[in-house]
């Protein structure tokens, strides 16, 4: 089957979308952006293709009587198992890499205990991985680095204490290895992993039903996913190993992506990690005008990230905390760093955290309003995309300001809006072949 792929290489995350030739989304994938753009692009693409397989499984299983009413649950289970298999594979890689690094010169004289400690940590990690991927378990993140990293720290610390080994050594080995593992292009064959996951999932099912299900899943697996056309976009697009005609401006992709999600979109605001863009599109999704901020963190996602660090909070906790505020304080500093200092001053002076936070959210949105305004203002419908669209307090401030200044326009916010650029890219890929 012909696939059209859009890859959005962002400053923080890389996103990919796979589309079929009818313009239907088959799958989406995301990974953290890293210095090796090829890998980031390859990983996100692979993730999207994996996701596409699940779409095909679903299509295949729709008519399967044995799973009547249970398709969702079955697929969820299958996915969990698949992720687990994938996780274990990457763990193996990490361990092997670690062992190799542990034998390095830096650790002369310590190789043995280090190797033993590594072995122990990975044994424990494998053992508890079952739990991490158990049904209903909440994972910290979808990225291997985050999941493995946090558990490695916790387990490693204990193991080192036990063994009388400096944890810094182990940490150093980890730091070296994770970068290598992360930057290794993903292993090719997915089929084996699917089959292992399938086996495990079916283990819980009755034999007869299992045969039918396995048959259909295998049939879906056999459908070749042919990469008909790939389009790259985003902040890092020029460094993608693509020929020029496969690269599209991120602005155009965002515009078109937003148009696909909400056909009535005329104005798009995208607040990502390093930049904020306001885009005006025509009724066909073609960009008419746009504005972006320059290289200053004030007013984009990193602003919130910085503030979260400053307050020792998680990024996802900021919004909910700011929502509790009853009066928003005015933040005077433009600069992110000065805003951080102002925040400390204000807290020291007895202002409430939530009020200060609300002020900070207002500040970032005000800056976005100014960029929107420079791009030509807001027209109905207005679509808000990018990572910050996940932040409810930002959404609240934005909604308020839009209402006050532009009246009752429709405001679209989609939890998957982080894929907007990649979606636009995929559509461009499709059009490149079809038009």
């Amino acid at each position: 089957m012909k696939c059209f792929i859009g890859i959005d290489l962002g400053s923080t995350t890389t996103k990919a979308v796979v589309m079929d030739d009818g313009g239907k989304q088959l799958g989406r994938g995301i990974t953290n952006s890293r210095s090796n753009y090829d890998t980031a692009a390859a990983v996100s693409k692979q993730e999207a293709l994996i996701d596409a397989r699940f779409t095909l499984f679903r299509r295949g299983l729709e008519g399967e009587a044995a799973l009547a009413g249970r398709v969702d649950a079955f697929l969820a289970e299958l996915e969990r198992n698949f992720r687990h298999v994938q996780f274990l594979e990457q763990l193996d890689d990490l361990e092997a890499t670690g062992v190799r690094h542990g034998a390095g010169l830096r650790f002369a004289g310590q190789e043995k205990p280090l190797r033993a400690a590594l072995g122990e940590v990975f044994r424990q990690l494998r053992a508890e991985s079952e739990g991490i991927f158990a049904p209903g378990a909440k994972r910290k993140s979808d990225f291997f680095r985050d999941i493995a990293g946090s558990r490695f720290m916790a387990l490693g610390d204990a193991v080192c204490k036990e063994a009388g080994l400096s944890f810094d050594l182990l940490l150093n080995v980890y730091d070296k290895s994770i970068i290598e593992v992360e930057n290794r292009p993903p292993a090719g064959a997915m089929e084996g992993k699917f089959l292992r996951a399938l086996e495990k999932t079916l283990g819980a099912t009755g034999q007869a039903a299992a045969n039918g299900v396995a048959h259909r899943v295998q049939a879906a697996l056999a459908i070749p996913l042919e990469e008909a056309y790939v389009v790259g976009t985003g902040y890092g697009r020029v460094r993608l190993p693509f020929p020029k005609e496969h690269i599209r401006s991120e602005i155009l992709c965002h515009g078109l992506g937003a148009h696909i999600m909400y056909a009535g979109t005329r104005t798009v605001l995208d607040i990502g990690g390093q930049d904020t863009k306001a885009i005006q599109v025509d009724p066909d999704g073609i960009v008419e005008n746009f504005q972006m901020n320059d290289r200053c963190a004030a007013g984009c996602g990193r602003y919130l990230g910085y503030i979260a660090d400053e307050m020792q909070m998680g990024l996802h906790e900021l919004g909910p905390m700011a929502m509790k505020s009853t009066r928003s304080l005015r933040i005077n500093s433009t600069c992110t760093v000065f805003a951080g200092a102002e925040l400390r001053d204000r807290l020291a002076l007895g202002d409430k955290r939530e009020d200060v936070l609300a002020g900070l959210h207002r500040a970032i949105i005000l800056r976005a309003m100014s960029i929107i305004s420079r791009s030509g203002g807001i027209r109905d419908q207005f679509t808000f995309t990018g990572g910050v669209a996940k932040n409810e307090a930002a959404v609240r401030e934005l909604t308020k300001l839009v209402r006050e200044n532009y009246g009752q326009v429709t405001i679209n916010i989609n939890p998957d809006s982080i894929y907007t650029g990649a979606l636009g890219g995929a559509e461009f890929a499709r059009r490149a072949v079809q038009v």
Binding site: R248, S249, I251, L252, D282, D284, I286, V287, E288, N289, F290, D294, R374, G376, V435
Partner: protein
């Protein structure tokens, strides 16, 4: 006529047309005359480009030294950056017009002409206060250095969108009662109105050919680039040569060359030879960037974008709207000329003019190159863009650079913007042709 028939793209030496050689020779001669003024005893006037009184200056045998042109020369030769820093070191703000700073910085560093010899001290500053407030401060600052006589010619702005009898009388009065007597005094030459008429007759000749050349951009393909290429075409007529037989000769040659290009169906000449395909026809508002002029231009011809009309080529007069220097009414005609240049038009007039160009030259869009340090041009350009988009239905694009401050030319940003813009025009066309 030598034709750049074989211009192996890129490195090989660019074949120069006769007109180019002619202009080069004129400029060299003029700089030599200027730098040798201390020896020859010739007197020197400094004045500004918009609405300049070159014919009058010549009546008195004065050499005309235009500080804006020197700033451009220094910008193109990549010297302006240092000069600007020098001026800032001497207390000038980062925020002000960089032409002024490039000039003052150059003065501080020996004020060398392109021929490597110092430019002479002016004997008189003719402050044609036309179309830009900063001119006044500029000459106050220069006067502070040279302590030389300064003549103010206040040219009223077309605030109400027209010139009036009162405005004209005011200028003529200043010419008669102040400018002419002062120039007589400085030069020791008696004013000779017939000489002035003679020069103006010569001007008008060149002006006819110049307009003819600019208007060839109506053709498809356009044989000229009405911005980058035409910057050279404006040279003689906007500066120290208008009214000289040299200038007439230059435009005669130029016209013949363009006629030939048209006959052969050729596009404009670029630093890398003839421009091939013309995918986009643009109208450009605002001066170009000089420090990266070539790089900037390349971003256009590489993408197949040709400029068919521009406002910058009208700062030295709107000859295409019919104005000619009129030997029968010399002083009145000087007044009309000074009042009529582009920067002296009010915003609604500027919008009207660009709209006219968009339509008459069948442009695909309007591009504004907004100059960070030039309030005269830049304040209001966003509004102009909106207004043109509204009136013509064609998309506008806005880029921000500077005249001669290399710090403000971000090639990556400009390129990103232009690429998005061209892709956008493409998209629009596709949809239009599909419909």
């Amino acid at each position: 006529m030598s034709k750049p028939e074989s211009k192996a793209a890129g490195k090989s030496e660019v074949v120069k047309d006769l007109s180019m050689l002619k202009q080069k020779e004129m400029i060299t001669r003029n700089y030599d005359a200027l730098t040798s003024a201390p020896e020859t005893g010739r007197k020197v006037a400094a004045t500004f480009v918009p609405g300049n009184l070159n014919e009058l200056i010549q009546v008195f045998g004065l050499l005309n030294n235009l500080p804006e042109i020197n700033a451009i020369q220094n910008g193109m030769r990549k010297l302006s950056g240092d000069y600007i820093l020098e001026a800032e070191k001497r207390g000038h703000s980062e925020d002000v017009c960089t032409y002024v700073k490039a000039d003052l910085g150059s003065m501080a560093k020996g004020n060398l002409a392109p021929n490597g010899k110092p430019l002479p001290r002016p004997d008189v500053l003719l402050l044609s206060y036309t179309g830009c407030f900063t001119f006044m401060k500029w000459f106050e600052l220069v006067r502070n250095e040279y302590k030389c006589p300064t003549v103010m010619l206040h040219v009223p702005y077309q605030g109400e969108g027209t010139t009036t009898r009162n405005m004209r009388d005011y200028i003529v009065k200043q010419l008669k009662q102040e400018v002419i007597p002062k120039l007589e005094q400085v030069s020791g030459v008696k004013f000779d109105i017939d000489r002035l008429r003679e020069l103006m007759r010569e001007s008008a000749k060149a002006e006819d050919d110049f307009v003819w050349v600019l208007e060839t951009a109506r053709h498809r393909p356009s044989p000229i680039d009405a911005y980058f290429g035409s910057v050279y075409y404006t040279g003689p007529i906007f500066t120290a040569f208008r009214g000289t037989p040299d200038a007439s000769e230059y435009y005669r040659l130029l016209r013949a060359e363009i006629e030939e290009r048209m006959a052969k169906g050729l596009g404009p000449i670029t630093p890398e030879g003839d421009m091939k395909q013309q995918k986009y026809r643009l109208v450009v508002e605002g001066p170009p960037n000089w420090t990266s002029f070539r790089e900037f231009w390349k971003m256009f011809y590489d993408e197949g974008a040709v400029v068919v009309a521009s406002s910058y080529t009208k700062v030295g007069g709107l000859y295409d709207l019919g104005f000619r220097h009129d030997p029968d009414h010399p002083l009145e005609s000087l007044a009309d000329y000074a009042m009529g240049c582009y920067t002296n038009m009010n915003l609604p007039q500027r919008v009207g003019l660009l709209e006219k160009y968009m339509k008459e030259y069948e442009a695909d869009g309007l591009l504004i190159n907004s100059i960070k340090s030039c309030n005269s041009f830049s304040a209001g350009q966003l509004m102009m863009m909106r207004e043109i988009e509204k009136r013509t239905g064609k998309p506008g694009a806005f880029i921000e650079t500077d005249l001669v401050d290399p710090r403000y030319f971000s090639a990556a940003n400009v390129k990103n913007r232009l690429e998005s813009y061209f892709q956008m025009i493409d998209q629009k066309r596709r949809v239009a042709s599909a419909a």
